[in-house]
Chain length 406, copies 4
């Protein structure tokens, strides 16, 4: 065990991380700095201050990171239409590099030699926190209590609290949930409990951010989303900051039963896990971004983006946001977005979101050429013959030499 | 103009292709063989016989290709979770190689030296028909009347009919639609008309295969879809042939408002075009196939499939089904599907389809390892430290040498 | 045939393009502007002026584009270690977009409504010229005489010269070669003649830029190449301009028999063709660039570059330099090169080039970690166990459930 | 420490693995089964029997795996033109999965519960052995002494031998080398010693399998290599078994100074390392395989192979031969090779290998079309216009709407 003088802990104010504060103090004999961030999880962060003080913490950081989170992490990711394994919008994954960055910044400010977090040894989050920390400060030490201690059940944790007189508020509603949950402005996730059986349907009272499609209004809601350089900037003509906009989309989506997801995914640590997610605003944003790209992006650029996307998604999922390969891909993605400007009109209705209209000053849709009517010579249909003939040439030569394709 | 003795025409029995029969006879002085296929477009094909006879056609082919279409084209494509440009399920694209194949088979049987079709010079279908034809019979000649003649409006076509006494039934409902449509067992498509303005919402009475989500039942429908080697084989325990199964899924999806799509896509010939699609069964199948793969496929295989998919989709969209590169990709895709067996439970409700359960004898989901509860040592959390440390090593070395990632 | 008033012709001063000048004047009744560029082909370009004047050309452009060619085209391409089909260094392909750009610039300056070139209808160069021209000036017209006229043999061309009294110097050495050749600062190519039989070995007297390996010096030559941000800037400590440096590498490589290549390649227009190439400097540069990257690039960046490269190469080969997808890829490639600084020591000997040393201030090679000797704790070998265990987890779960891999 | 009764050790008969035998017996109190394979490393394997017996080993396996190695591992890998990081032919990597497979087979036969190997904790080989073992027998235990013990220098090893009276022959020439070496039929590798400084040139007396280019014959050697379904089957018309053929190519290449390589590569465990390699036969085979593919493969298949190759190479390098993703890629690669038949004529001369001729019954090279001479209408040059026009359409539309590409 290395000698550690001061450690910065990602602190939620909940049971687990409160135990970690004391455990770090006791086990490492070190000072603990707590860091609590508002990234839109929907809970007050200020109460964490008193709890940390009660645990004897002297350096307490409480930050509102909502705008930075959406502007510098969520929106850049959505520029790539990023989806992991065809389904997952990476709501948890994308928040981790921001936390890692702040942990390291605070370690630098406070002269800490280690960071710590409350993620388990089975999950992806430990990887994301730690890869980020190592990439930004290679000499940092990492303490992952869940990999070290033997407090591997809620009972043992509570016993530890009693023994160490940790003044945690156990009435916390979230903690009583049978699910392991994580939330931020992009999504809320559920794991564990009955979800550990992939055949079992999620219970309807599990979902927190959205009404069920069945309970959504019987009338569709229409909105218009405006984009500039690939990022959304206004809803129905009203410009908003990134976090405000995403929050508004969450409300709109949630009210219309949009964004529920139930999947089995592949973790970086090698196992499959069942997760349920609510990503109301993100689901709307994804549809809208594809729609505005559909009229503004060149075809080959769009296809190249589609081919690079799974790799970019995997990289974020696995925790490599702070990596040179992510920067390299981001450079390509961002280069493509300068022309992604315009408006998308969307219909939200009982769980589904449909793009019903799109327009842009940068549109490449050319009515004169695309029309089924007379195009006044804008397109010479005879060109198609040569196009097809030369594209077929290699196939004809092969067939002429006896190659059989059936 | 080459000397042509006999040409096989893809004949629908409608106005356009009836005009083409006569135009081919007149322009090339050749015999016309008609080929009409039932691929599930929802119209009787047998009436085409009388129409062809009335036009003086002596060799008339009318085939029911529905099972072959679904078994050998639709299902293999769905094994790859194939989506073009993030949205389009390739309903039109996948039918073309089958038509091309039959045209060539009939050309071989009848000793024809050319094929012909009614696709325009602006679209993808001409490319798909002709690439397929050239790949399967390199010496075949192709006549694409729309690229040659000047009958470029409905009025001129009807005038031609009158002049040439072509006995076409102009009361055909489909022909009166303001949209250009195409249908088969996988989908129905709409182009043209008001859709040529990408900002205009599609009119609600355009859609033919599905009720609107608003009009769908207020109660969800649950079904269980069973897969063997990546293909669906049964609904709710009842085994069905491929075409029967897809037809049943279409009914289920259509009744629940599922599978409507409104996009702007990039054509192979270089322009953008607006298209609306109804793919009720395909939309359900896509969701279900991803769900059964989620528990049966190895992670790296799943990711490799996701990275190859856009290229495979593009290749089918562009008309290269009959190509060695498609065979090469198909070999990889099919290799992955032997283990894709099991059942998916789906909820259909007002436009959306959700996988709510999945199970399989071949499941790789391991409850003992994935659990949040005590796993009795199935997974050693301490392994995670080394895993992270070595994955971080290159980043730490770089950071230690001053590389900055922020 | 469109009405054309003025056309800019890519003019070499040789027989073919001299005939084209007169043919354009006669056929289109238009004014011809000639454009002759020195891109390092090794022939004087100034004589083209008198020839053009003799043909009645009033606007004559003669440009030295060597530095621009190497700086803005060759070097950016080499940043990606670009090789087409595993062998070809794209010497011809990379010169075409520069010519296309100048043709369009001159068309804009002179108010021309068309461009013209002397490339045949079977090759890639027509595509590269014309795609570039259309991308930079969409309304430009293109005249490709070889696709239009019937002067399809040398005899007919010479007959045309006599009839039209074209004062071309037929003693031009290059024209007497049995090969079709193309040269610029990056390479010289040979096609046609005996090479049309892929089994026939190229004759030794065909090669012009390099001695045969057999005739090269019996002593190796060592050089040190210095890189800054991925581009070479100095040889043996002497800084040089891009064109000077590449010319120097050509001399060094040529003298040591380096850079000969004999391949069959796949043209964009659908046929295979045999080509022989001499790329002495480029072959050295490729080896050196990989070597300096080997110590300065992050592993995942290097692998991503390797996976993107074939697509980037294909895009350049096919003529899409002036395209948004090339810009997108270039943005990613260039992002990776900021750290590609340092020196590579190379051994040139009888046809082969070997990197024998590499060093850099930006090196990521860490002797303390890589050593076989005691590393004083820089690397903890025990981390490897967890790394392997978790990487193996998915395979173990699968095997445990009976999946068989043999 | 788990209870282990019997362990199968990959045993070379050298100092390190002899120490491991005793160390395993002492540390784990278990029976050791030795496995020694001839994979063409160029040393007798039979002497390992006496050494193992002297160490008290009762179950001794000595196998000649040369044919299996080349037929089932080397040749399948070469079908993909596999190169890691643009340079390395994977000589060490490809031997490991075979060893892993035999270790597990022997563990099954002898009822052993563990395997062991002599690879260090810093390298790739531990990963390759162990991933293979876990993938083939998920419950197997792995003992990696170099990660456990403290015998981390040659001195400590020899001291251990003395203390434990291990009768090893220390005069073994290979062991006195300052380099860490590994050899098999595909290559010999060198690491460590002066190579740990990437700027230092490898000493000339390090190389063992090839003469220096300087010392190679002054006359070139010509050979003809015949391929069937992508694999070489004969040299100069003489059919040979896979191992015999590769051995013969090694002799031919070595005698002509072919196949030396000096690189810095990126290990899977996260560090860069310098390695020198001699792969005489493999270097010839790579060139020849590309040449035979150049006339027999379809263009798009060739390009797809090139794009998949870096991923396939990485996968083998990292130790995932025994994985479902390797099988998936292999299925695609093998599908492409049925037509890769024919002959390549090669020139070997002082370090370089050149393909000077290639011919095949399956050639797609079409002289009639490719010719610069009159092609009698085999190719219609006018088709090129439409081909270019439609390929340019998206670029023209964009430029027409003001998109700027310069």
């Amino acid at each position: 065990m290395s000698k550690i003088d001061k450690v910065v802990l990602a602190y939620s104010g909940g049971l687990d991380t409160s135990v970690i504060v004391r455990w770090l103090q006791d086990t490492y004999g070190c000072e603990v700095v707590t860091f609590t961030a508002d990234i839109g999880q929907g809970e007050e962060v200020e109460p964490a201050r008193a709890k940390a003080e009660a645990l004897g913490v002297k350096e307490i950081y409480i930050d509102d990171l909502r705008e930075e989170f959406v502007r510098d992490f969520v929106f850049p990711m959505f520029r790539a239409n990023t989806i992991y394994e065809g389904e997952y919008l990476l709501g948890t994954s994308i928040a981790r590099p921001l936390i890692a960055k702040r942990l390291i910044e605070i370690a630098n400010e406070t002269g800490a030699d280690a960071i710590s977090h409350g993620a388990t040894g089975k999950g992806n989050d430990q990887v994301r926190f730690e890869l980020g920390a190592y990439a930004l400060k290679p000499g940092i030490q990492v303490i992952a209590p869940w990999r070290e201690w033997d407090l591997n059940s809620r009972e043992k944790l509570m016993q530890y609290c009693e023994q160490h007189k940790i003044p945690v508020d156990f009435s916390n509603k979230k903690k009583k949930s049978p699910y392991s949950m994580d939330a931020n402005l992009l999504h809320i996730s559920y794991e564990g409990g009955v979800l550990e059986e992939p055949w079992a349907e999620a219970e309807d009272d599990m979902w927190r951010w959205s009404v069920s499609p069945e309970a959504a209004p019987d009338q569709p809601t229409y909105i218009t989303l405006q984009f500039e350089q690939g990022d959304p900037v206004a809803i129905d003509g009203e410009r908003m900051s990134p976090a405000t906009l995403l929050e508004k989309l969450n409300k709109l989506g949630g009210a219309n039963g949009i964004g529920r997801l139930d999947i089995v995914e592949n973790r970086y640590v090698g196992m499959k896990s069942r997760g349920c997610y609510e990503t109301p605003g993100g689901t709307i944003l994804m549809k809208a971004h594809r729609a505005i790209e559909s009229i503004t992006l060149d075809r080959e650029v769009a296809h190249l983006k589609d081919e690079l996307m799974p790799r970019y998604a995997k990289l974020i999922y696995n925790g490599y946001w702070w990596s040179p390969e992510r920067r390299m891909l981001q450079a390509a993605i961002d280069e493509s977005q300068a022309v992604v400007n315009g408006e998308v009109r969307l219909k939200l209705y009982k769980g589904s979101v449909t793009a019903v209209g799109r327009r842009s000053e940068d549109s490449l849709f050319d009515e004169k050429i695309a029309t089924f009517e007379d195009d006044a010579g804008a397109y010479d249909q005879k060109d198609a013959e040569g196009f097809i003939k030369l594209n077929a040439l290699r196939l004809r030569i092969a067939a002429g030499k006896g190659r059989d394709l059936i």
